[in-house]
Symmetry: C2
Subunit: 244 residues, 2 copies
DNA sequence: GGAATTATTGACTGGTGAGTCAGTAACCTT
DNA sequence: AAGGTTACTGACTCACCAGTCAATAATTCC
């Protein structure tokens, strides 16, 4: 009977390809480099992938698919937090989950960030998806009287996405995972103050939320496990497991 | 006697190279494409540049040099605004000047954004320069009691730079120059609210600055010409004039 | 018009690397 | 052990393109 494919071959190629693409970009990466590092042959590479670009696209598309399961739209939630302290806790959890995911996939994030020319659409797809979801949250917050509705939701989404994008960039360039939760607490406080309606701000002050207490690690991440999600099926095209 | 060099040849090559590099990145750009569009020969290209990469670096370094003259550190200013309304006006002018400069040089900005692999240092240099200047302003604002000094200046600089970076990105992807001043007014209001000390916020409220009035175009850009700068020599390596 | 000199040209060279494919290895069945 | 089938190998092909350089053009002076 026939030879059985090596089950780890494609995984090794994808993992190594991710690293080489992250370092050098699609055009700077050599198939020879990928296959040498993965201890496979070029023939094996072309057995699993149509082309170098095909491999690149598979990595990025798998990542984008999993991102959709991490960064969810308001309509994917059955219930939403009502009180001031719950709102803060809710956002810290979501933000930390998102940054944790990006940290675990920082090679792919670097790959996506480097997409240009005829692969620019992949970076565009990533940004558009994140922006759209962020905007949906902004519009809901405005509708619920938590965020200043005179502000352009498009502009607010731009600013918030840009700020978090740069946070992510700073995180990824660190050799070790930095104190993300600390960063997120200050960031959330700034945006709540900058965007929140007087109603929300009063509620947050009453709950002493914008001071150190509720934003403290002990009252946030200790109680609720990070990465808990609900209501949506897990990613179907997760080829590369996240790793540290 | 000898043949006189064509004075416009290098300019044409630089201008066209900028466009091709912006579209396809350094590695995707072909010298043949550049020279054909510029109506020059490859020999002429190599007469003016050591290599394709040399041309790329000349464009980016000239841009970074001019950026230093646009986005100045606090210590480059003789006087700084004191009152609430003056602070707002000051920042709107500076922000508009910066975005105007980036708009005029949007091809180069796209080039820089695409730097990766062994050219990543150019993007790093750009980001570091902007970040460092932003952080200097943040620290001065904190020292002058205008900005919450409990906040990490590094984090604030990260968030502000990230937000404005994304604004810039949105602007650049527009076929026509969008209403930058409108964007900047809302952005500045959000960050002043998010970061300002109670003292500054009271002063701004007293001057009705965070409402539509002082942020109105008629009281800002009409009085003070944009792009006015002082005290620092103009860029020495400005090869490519800015254009629309 | 010819000479001397410098600028410019674009056919050409040589290196690179994506992708191919004939040969070999690994598997199971007979 | 041999046969049939599929996975895998890595030398090889060939297209591509950065960079070169012999030939030509353009200039001024005599």
């Amino acid at each position: 009977m026939a030879r059985i494919p090596d089950p780890t071959a494609k995984i090794a190629l994808l993992r190594t390809a991710t690293d080489v693409f992250a370092e050098r970009g699609l055009e700077g990466a050599k198939v020879e480099d990928i296959t040498r590092r993965a201890r496979q042959s070029k023939g094996a590479f072309y057995l699993h992938f149509q082309s170098k670009e095909d491999a690149f696209r598979q990595v990025v598309e798998a990542f984008l698919a999993r991102l959709a399961d991490i960064y969810k739209s308001p309509k994917d939630f059955e219930t939403l937090p009502a009180s001031g302290a719950e709102v803060v806790r809710f956002w810290l959890e979501r933000d930390e989950q998102m940054l944790e995911f990006l940290w675990q996939n920082r090679s792919v994030v670097t790959m996506v960030a480097g997409c240009q020319g005829q692969n620019a659409y992949l970076l565009d797809a990533f940004r558009l998806e994140v922006r759209r979801t962020c905007r949906a949250w902004v519009e809901l917050s405005q509708k619920r009287g938590m965020m200043d509705s005179k502000l352009s939701s498009e502009l607010v989404a731009t600013l918030v996405c840009g700020a978090y994008d740069e946070l992510c960039r700073q995180m990824i360039r660190s050799p070790r995972k930095p104190p993300i939760l600390d960063w997120l607490r200050q960031t959330l406080a700034i945006f709540l103050r900058g965007l929140g309606t007087p109603t929300l701000l009063r509620a947050l002050d009453r709950a002493h939320v914008l001071q150190a207490r509720v934003l403290d690690a002990k009252t946030t991440s200790a109680k609720t496990p990070v990465n808990r999600s609900r209501g949506v099926a897990v990613s179907r095209r997760s080829l590369r497991p996240t790793y540290e």
